[in-house]
């Protein structure tokens, strides 16, 4: 049993989880500076703790229609290598210990449908958490080429 | 309705002068914070009396008087100078330049009210 801390958040009707080691901090979200010409799933730029950070709107990234901003919305600030980016989610409340050995591969049809964003599924007390590929979500493939 | 222009770079001073002159009755006050604004304002509209401080940035009261008096249409405009420099030398210089009245700070509210009354054309004079 390998239990590691994960940050969980909600986008649409699904719960997702990220290793806490990848998460720098959680911020509330007011507004982002729109960047003309950036991919449509980029909400824009925000300033967090003195840093300018691009924010990916996960609803848009996951193909969901947009909703009105509420105070529950959060930006999960993550670090991948030297890159720091933000993930805009509907809400982020819990931090859980998840047992990595219990992670299962997602059903193939889901894996394909989610364009590789979902790498595993965890079950905790009858709740499903989708583990996501952060580098892919923040467009790591854009850095090559 | 008489139109008064009050020129002083201190907002407090402008407010105090306005308060002192309110008993005049039917008056509309306009304010300027520098000699430059005063000149500009005077060139755009007409006033019945100008209350002017001597000491202001860039263009002081003396230059405003000289400028205004040099223009034909403003020769008769009553200009009341208020200044901290109450010495006689200054008084003479200022009156020679064309000021209509001279009042040294600090002055009592009654003093400036009387000077203003003296300088404003009375209703009876208007034919």
């Amino acid at each position: 049993m390998i239990r590691t801390l994960h940050v969980t958040f909600r986008v649409g009707t699904a719960d997702y989880a990220l290793p806490a080691a990848q998460v720098l901090h959680l911020e509330s979200f007011v507004t982002a500076t729109h960047v003309p010409g950036a991919p449509p799933y980029v909400a824009g730029l925000v300033q967090v703790r003195g840093r300018v950070v691009p924010v990916v709107d996960l609803r848009a990234r996951f193909g969901l229609p947009p909703v009105e901003r509420t105070i529950d919305h959060r930006v999960v600030v993550v670090q991948v290598g030297t890159r720091v980016a933000g993930l805009l989610v509907d809400s982020a409340r819990e931090v859980l210990q998840l047992d990595e050995t219990s992670f299962e591969k997602p059903p193939e049809v889901i894996e394909r449908q989610s364009a590789g964003f979902v790498t595993a599924v965890a079950t905790v007390a009858k709740r499903l958490f989708l583990l996501i590929d952060v580098p892919r979500i923040i467009g790591e493939e854009l850095t090559h080429g | 309705m008489k139109r008064l222009l009050i020129v002083d770079d201190s907002k407090l001073m402008r407010d105090m002068v306005a308060a002192c002159l309110r008993p005049l009755g039917e008056v509309a006050f306009e304010f300027a914070g520098t000699g430059l604004e005063a000149i500009e304002r005077l060139s755009l509209t007409g006033f019945d009396l100008v209350v002017l401080d001597l000491n202001m940035p860039d263009v002081g009261g003396l230059e405003v008087i000289e400028f205004v008096r040099a223009q034909d249409r403003s020769r008769a405009l009553p200009i009341l100078i208020v200044t901290t420099r109450g010495d006689d030398e200054n008084r003479t210089k200022v009156l020679e330049a064309g000021a209509s009245g001279f009042l040294a700070k600090p002055f009592a509210p009654q003093q400036i009210l009387e000077e203003a009354r003296r300088l404003l054309p009375s209703k009876r004079a208007e034919a």
Partner: protein, 689 residues
């Protein structure tokens, strides 16, 4: 209507305005003191100081506070003599003036708190009178154009002479008020304010002109200003023609003459004039060249442009690679160039470094003045400050340090009796120390041995628990909190701890922390980068967003109305189709034409080019030029011009053409820096269907 007007009801307003004037006077004195340290003078600051004293004397007289009138009058005499000598005040005079203003500040506070006001101290009045009688050694003045000689006061002549001597650009121009101008909000007051923001105004002289029936009044204003702004910007501000902004140059020096004029000095015992050499070599024997910061800024701006085109080069290389070309050798060259740019950047940044001790100099003066007016016994210690800092960082940091030091003297250091009673030395110590920290950072620590911060009291006031120092700092620096502190005479209003945080963290990209021990003292640590990239930019509004562009690329800014645009054949209309937006493609933005100074320039709406706005409300156009090709972009309105810290945003998610970086205009949100050259290329490409 009652005719009895009682001016006593203005006492509250008097206290407020007097406090502002005292603060302004102190600032002028600080400037003069710093200038003395640099071996030069500040005639403008002396003039401002004189006016401040004159004003407060008048106001105090009206309200009836005699002691303030007396002190102000004495100081006025002292400063008037200095102004007449070309703006010269020596250190002793500054010291005595400081004491005088401190005495005034004390009495203003007494007025505010309805306490009895002490008589003006005899000793002080004597000291001031003695300084006035002593006079100051006059200084030499470089030659100025004869036609200005007669129109300027001695202080103003010195101001002009200094500017010409240091090759600061000096301009003369005229502004003509008119009803048209006034209806657009362009008045002599607004012109003066805006020019004052981009430079230093030496003189404004009204001149009678023929009044016309068409709304021109009978007056024009001739201005003499010192400014690094371009002719184009100055002309735009003053609503005048570009060729109406004329450069003022020093008259050709006659061979062999060094001094053309010596200021008259009032007072006895004046010493014979000694020319002040502005390029003295320091005793250590280093070869030193005094360089105006503006020249380094210019170097920096050019470097920033180089860096921006470097990003574009990278993108072009990537595009070629995508098309299958072998880009290895080009990449190699680009990498070498990148390294060379980095080295160049480091070299320029090194040239902008100033010793921290120089930056902190004004703090000792401040502490002396504060200690006096708040009746504390405090001294300032500066420690480890031979470290060096980028001048731009230093300039931004100083207000934050000033606030922390003020706070320490005002709130932290206890009254002398209190300190002695608790076993502390009578004299409180505020220490500013600097520590170089790995990774290009400097830690500036402001420590005091005062009463420490009462965490419990703060928690109570903030209505939340404070478990650690990080939370304490958060509460102290939250905007709502700071303004609830009771403002005292010396704390100043408005500059709260939240601004200290904004400067340190958002502006400079650093960190702020605090440690405190009740009864023992407090230490604020500001970690700031040693160097930052600073750029001179224009800011403007386009649609829902504001943007900035480097000022150095903008050739001209002018007002544009829809009817001025000429739409050539096949331009079509600019529309943003939903399909375009989905695919995040640029729409076909139509290029129109506009006539400017006898030429036709292509003009495009920035809003439609960036697909963020229809561009209907655009009323201003910015013209850029490259290799003789001009193009204009229309925007809604100009916001202003300022120096900002630019952060490169190189994350691939937002690495898009036309965006060169991000900055903070002061609202805490990122504002994009646009690369107009790149956008111009895009506009030209899109314009061809």
């Amino acid at each position: 209507m009652s005719e009895r007007v009682d001016l006593q009801e203005f006492i509250g307003a008097f206290a407020v305005e007097a406090e502002e004037i005292v603060a302004a006077a102190n600032t002028s004195l600080l400037e003069i003191d710093v200038a003395i340290g640099q071996g030069t003078v500040r005639p403008r600051a002396v003039r401002d100081l004189f006016r401040a004293l004159h004003t407060i004397k008048g106001l105090a007289g009206m309200i009836g506070v005699e002691p303030i009138v007396e002190i102000a009058h004495a100081l006025e005499t002292l400063v008037r003599a200095a102004d007449g000598a070309g703006g010269v005040l020596d250190r002793r005079a500054v010291e005595v003036a400081l004491q005088g203003i401190g005495a005034i500040a004390e009495r203003v506070r007494a007025v505010a708190e309805r306490e009895t006001i002490d008589e003006a101290p005899e000793g002080l009045l004597e000291a001031i009178a003695e300084a006035a009688a002593r006079g100051c050694a006059p200084i030499a003045m470089a030659p100025i154009p004869p036609e200005w000689h007669a129109r300027l006061s001695p202080g103003e002549r010195q101001q002009l002479a200094l500017a010409l001597q240091t090759s600061d650009p000096v301009w003369t121009l005229s502004f003509t008020p008119s009803e048209t101008n006034a209806s657009r909000g362009i008045t002599i007051a607004s012109v003066r304010a805006r020019l004052g923001a981009v430079g230093e105004i030496v003189k404004v002289i009204p001149r009678a002109i023929a009044a016309t029936a068409g709304g021109q009044t009978g007056v024009a204003f001739d201005l003499l200003i010192i400014s690094n702004a371009t002719q184009a910007v100055i002309a735009e501000i003053a609503a005048t023609e570009l060729d109406g902004v004329i450069a003022v140059v020093a008259p050709a020096a006659a061979p062999g003459r060094q001094i053309t004029e010596v200021m008259d000095v009032t007072g006895v015992g004046a010493e014979p004039p000694a020319p002040i050499e502005r390029d003295d070599l320091p005793a250590v024997g280093r070869a030193v060249v005094r360089v105006e910061l503006s020249r380094l800024d210019e170097l920096q701006d050019q470097l920033s442009l180089l860096i921006v085109s470097r990003f574009r080069l990278e993108r072009e290389i990537s595009s070629l690679a995508e098309l299958g070309h072998d880009v290895r050798r080009i990449r190699e060259v680009a990498q070498i160039q990148g390294r060379q740019l980095r080295d160049l950047r480091r070299a320029i940044l090194r040239a902008r470094m100033v010793p921290v001790s120089e930056v902190l100099e004004p703090l000792s003066l401040l502490v002396r003045s504060l200690a006096r007016s708040s009746q504390r016994d405090v001294r300032l210690e500066l420690d480890g400050c031979d470290a060096e800092l980028d001048k731009a960082v230093a300039d931004r940091l100083l207000p934050a340090l000033i606030h922390l030091v003020r706070n320490a003297v005002d709130h932290a250091i206890e009254p002398p009796e209190h300190r002695v009673a608790s076993g502390k030395p009578r004299v409180g110590t505020v220490r500013v120390s600097c520590l170089e920290v790995a990774g290009n950072f400097l830690e500036v620590i402001v420590t005091d041995d005062g009463r420490g911060i009462d965490r419990a009291a703060i928690a109570l006031r903030a209505k939340r628990p404070i478990d650690d120092e990080a939370t304490l700092l958060e509460v102290l620096t939250s905007p709502g909190f700071s303004t609830r502190e009771v403002p005292t005479t010396t704390s100043g209003r408005g500059l709260g701890m939240d601004i200290v945080r904004r400067i340190t963290v958002s502006d400079l990209g650093g960190k702020l922390s605090v440690t405190t021990h009740p009864g023992e003292g407090t230490a604020f640590t500001l970690r700031v980068p040693v160097t930052i990239a600073v750029m001179d930019v224009f800011s403007f509004q386009c649609g829902p967003q504001s943007f900035v562009v480097p000022a150095v690329v903008v050739e001209e800014i002018f007002e544009v109305l829809p009817e001025m645009l000429v739409v050539p054949p096949n331009a079509g209309t600019s529309t943003i189709s939903p399909a375009d937006r989905q695919a995040s493609k640029w729409p076909r933005a139509a290029l129109a034409l506009i006539e400017r100074r006898g030429h036709a320039i292509p003009i495009v709406s920035l809003g439609t080019l960036l697909a963020i706005d229809s561009g209907e409300r655009a009323r201003k156009a910015l013209v850029i030029q490259r290799n003789g090709d001009r193009i204009a972009f229309t925007v809604d309105r100009m916001i202003g011009r300022q120096e900002v810290v630019v952060r490169a945003i190189d994350d691939p998610l937002v690495n898009v053409p036309g965006i060169a970086g991000a900055t903070d205009l002061g609202d805490g949100r990122p504002t994009l820096v646009l690369d107009l050259n790149e956008l111009g290329t895009i506009a030209r490409q899109r314009g061809v269907s």
